[in-house]
Structures are given as C-alpha cells and as structure tokens.
C-alpha cells in the first residue's frame, strides 16, 4: 500500500519534472511545475510531514509558481513558439547528468544509513515550532533577514526609474 502510493507519487513527480525541462511552451512548463510541486507535497504528507506539505503548496504553488507565471506573461512575446528554447548542448549536458546520477547511485550504495524504527505519525507543527525557536533560532533569524533583503532587493531591481 505504502509502496504503491510512493510509486504513483514518484511517477507524477518525475514525469511532470521531465515536462518542465522539455516542453517548448514555457507557460505549459510552469503549469507542469505546479503538478510537480503538488506531487512533492503529497510525498511530504506520506513522510509524516503534514505541515511542510501545506507549506509546500502554499509557498511553491501559491507564491513561487504564480511569480513565474507572471514573469512568463510579462515576457510572453519572447517565449512564443518560434524562438528556440534550448542551447546546442543537450548531448554533453545529458552525458554529464547521467554520470552525475551514476555517481549518486554509487555513493548511495556505499553508504549505510542507520535507520531508526520510526514512530507513529504525530503532529509536527509543535515540534517544528519549538525547534525553530530554540535550537535553530539563529538560522531562523538569519533566514528572515535574507528574506527581507531579497524582498527589498527585488523591489529595487524591478522598479521603474
């Protein structure tokens, strides 16, 4: 049962990710990206990470992909069908990627993980909140500053003078 769910989600994620990088129409790529993010959210839900599943949908689908679609719409004369979407190096890129994946598989097979018997699913919201406010309070503050800087930076860059 769990394995079947995993394979379905994995198929959704990988097929939509392939569409994201290969479709000619960039708007369709963005829509496929949404499908991929939704599949990943489903994967999180199956990994006892319900809070992160919701955050994934909220941030990625609700904010990042919408921003991307906006950028596509603003620049859409250029992403029409006549314009080339790829450079001339798909073959070298493919070779590099395949060797990268082989490297992953080799290193994965050589690593033994100490898998802990996982306990039944419990609400994670409280645990994440406590972790963010105690052990990881410094990264938490740093990341909020990064977010603020990015926000101001984006406004400054995109502003019409």
């Amino acid at each position: 049962m769990g394995l079947a769910v995993f394979y379905i989600l994995a198929a959704v994620i990988l097929v939509s990710a392939l569409f994201v990088v290969t479709l000619r129409n960039i708007f369709h790529s963005a829509l496929m990206l949404i499908v991929c993010f939704f599949g990943v959210a489903g994967l999180y839900a199956s990994l006892n990470a319900d809070f992160l599943a919701a955050v994934q949908v909220l941030i990625y689908v609700g904010a990042v992909t919408i921003l991307i679609i906006f950028a596509v719409m603003v620049t859409h004369q250029l992403s029409g069908k006549k314009i080339r979407q790829y450079n001339d190096q798909p073959v070298p890129a493919g070779l590099i990627i395949i060797s990268l994946f082989l490297l992953f598989v080799v290193s994965l097979s050589k690593t033994g993980f100490e898998v802990v018997k996982s306990i039944s699913s419990s609400p994670t919201v409280e645990g994440i909140g406590k972790a963010l406010m105690t052990s990881y309070v410094l990264p938490f503050e740093v990341v909020s500053i990064v977010l603020l800087v990015a926000l101001i930076g984006a406004i400054v860059i995109a502003r019409k003078d």
Binding site: F27, L31, I34, F51, V57, V61, G62, I66, I69
Partner: protein, 347 residues
C-alpha cells in the same frame, strides 16, 4: 435530537457491520464527497438567487418574481439555459489549459470543504493542519484564473487574470497573518480545535479577543472572494468581464458557481475563527442543533458581503494595492503583536 453528526456515525456503524474496512473507507469517501458536492451546488443556487433578491431590494426593485415563489426557481432556469448553450472555444485558444481552468477553479473551491466544521461531528476530515490546508488549497484558484486568462488568447481575459492574481496574492498575505492571531489564541491549527477553544458563550468568541484581526481578515477575505469593492478582476465596465470573458455554457457556470462557493468559504472560515463556529450564542441555547448555528452565522456573514457589494463603489487598482500593502499588512502585524502581549498578560 436533530444533530446530524450522529446520523453519519450510525451510517458508518451500519456499513462496518457487513463490509471489510477498506470498502467502508472508499464508500464513505464517495458518499461524503457527493454529499458535500450536492450541498455546495444547492447552496450556490440559493446564494445566486439571494444575491439577486438582495440587490433588487436595495435598489427598490423586486428582482426575479416569475419563476416560482418570489423567483426561487430562477437560478435553476438559468442553469438549464447555461447547460443547453453551445460550448464555444476561441479559435487560437490553448485547448488543454482552456479545458482544465474551470475544473481546477471549482475543484479548489470544493476541496476547501474537507476541513470545514459544519457542526458538532459534521466535518469530513479534521486535519491537524486544518486552517493552513484551506489557505494552501485555495491558492489553486489563482492558478486557475491565470490559466483561464492565458488560454483564452484574449487581451481582456489576460489582463483580468493578471489583475485578479495580483490582487488575490496581495490580499493573501494580510489574510494569513490575520488568521495567525486566532491560531495563537487557540494554540492549534485544527478547525475543530479552534471551535472548541471558543466554547461557553459569545464573550469567548475570538472576535472580542482580537477585533483588529477580524477586521483585517474580513476586508482581506472580501478581496479574496473578488467581491466589490475589490472586484477589479471582473470589473464589467472596464474589462468586459475579466478572465472568464471567452467562457460560455457549462464552463462559465463552473466559474460562476466557484465564485459563490468561495464567498461561502470565506464566511465559513470567518465564523469558525472569530464567531465560535457551531457554538451557540449562550450555552442554554444548546438545544438548537449545532449545524443551524453554523449555517445561520455563515449566511449572516454572506449577507454582509452582499451588502458591501451594493453599497460601496469599486476602488481603483493602484488604491487596491496600496491598501493591501501599506494599510492592512501593518495592521495584521500589529494584531499579532497585540495578541502576543494579551496571551502573556492574561495567562
């Protein structure tokens, strides 16, 4: 006596008597799905009629009067008319995207009802991230509007889609931050948990603990539901009809129904977070079934939304953005700080 929660439990028990558990799960999922779908369709039919009557009476007219008693069957007649219409598609439309946009729009509106507590024990699935789930799943509405705007291959549709996406995203920020206040008070994200935390009379409702949060939520929710004074996306007089200009027949009906369902969704969330959900006004009024309280409060909230529409003029698109970012957002932050202080001081 008239609590519906018991009926669902009884059906579950009856099915468990002679069926394996997997089948019970599947059958109950199908039954609840169909029940919610049927409820929402009836509700949308009713709300469309109600809005027409309210608008008419506010303008000293009668509104629909011919079909049925005071025109109650008017929406059904309209629906039949829409079903019979030819399903047009623009010549250069992006066919697949054009087809899926209304389905995703309605699906997103429908999926939110997974966690809405209609009454004591009447909730499809009480997820422990309940309210976060609603915020997350309703973002698909924005995606569907952008899809519709893009796929129609029409500049009015594209403009309407982009405007509505910008508006909904902008107002989602103060909306989510206003919800944080209620979550802080209840110390849970689960919808049932938030309702239970407000038990024991109307002075325990969160609208009295954080009126500022309610104000921010309600204004932002009006914008989320694309209602006047924030109905820029549809702005009949400027954009013809916005993102749905090229849609006709059944697909248009789905957008239209989704709009009214969304209006009820934001009202139901407002009632759950700030008005005690299905909790009675006083505890001695508990003999009235909980779902009556919930529906009553929600319909009052829907009425107020309709009242807004026929009272205020539409605001300009630049004023809209300024209002969200420069006024509502600081107020939402102020509300969080005040609630935090309140929790520390009064506990």
């Amino acid at each position: 006596m008239f609590e519906l929660g018991g009926i669902f439990e009884a059906i579950g028990k009856w099915l468990n008597g002679f069926l394996p558990p997997v089948w019970v799960t599947i059958i109950s999922a199908v039954i609840t799905g169909l029940a919610v779908l049927g409820f929402l369709s009836l509700l949308a039919l009713f709300l469309v009629w109600w809005e027409r009557k309210i608008s008419a009476h506010m303008q000293q007219r009668y509104g629909p009067m011919r079909t049925g008693w005071h025109g109650v069957l008017q929406t059904i007649a309209d629906g039949v008319k829409l079903l019979q219409k030819e399903d047009l598609m623009p010549k250069d439309a992006d066919r697949i995207v054009y087809f899926w946009a209304p389905i995703i729009c309605f699906g997103a509106a429908f999926m939110a009802y997974l966690v809405v507590p209609f009454g004591k024990g009447i909730i499809v699935q009480d997820l422990n991230i309940g309210i976060l789930y609603i915020i997350a799943i309703t973002t698909f509405t924005v995606v569907s509007l952008l899809m519709a705007g893009w796929a129609s291959n029409n500049k009015w549709a594209l403009l309407g889609g982009m405007r509505s996406a910008a508006q909904i995203i902008s107002y989602e920020v103060p909306l989510s931050l206003a919800i944080v206040g209620a979550v802080m008070l209840a110390q849970t994200l689960s919808m049932n948990g938030i309702v239970s935390a407000q038990a024991g009379g109307f002075w325990h409702w969160y609208v009295f603990r954080e009126p500022l949060g309610f104000l921010v939520y309600y204004i932002a929710a009006t914008a989320e539901a694309n209602r006047t004074p924030f109905d820029i996306p549809e702005a009949e007089q400027e954009l013809v009809a916005g993102f749905n200009i090229e849609y006709s027949g059944m697909k248009f009906a789905m957008f239209f129904l989704a709009e009214f369902v969304n209006m009820f969704t934001v009202s139901a969330i407002a009632v759950t977070l700030f008005f005690g959900g299905w909790q009675p006004l006083f505890s001695f009024l508990g003999f009235i079934p909980s779902w009556v309280w919930f529906m009553g409060k929600s319909l009052v909230s829907v009425f107020v939304l309709m009242w807004f529409r026929w009272t205020y003029p539409r605001i300009r698109v630049d004023q809209l953005m300024n209002f969200a970012w420069k006024f509502l957002l600081p107020l939402a932050f102020l509300n969080i700080i005040l609630v935090g202080f309140g929790i520390v001081v009064f506990k």
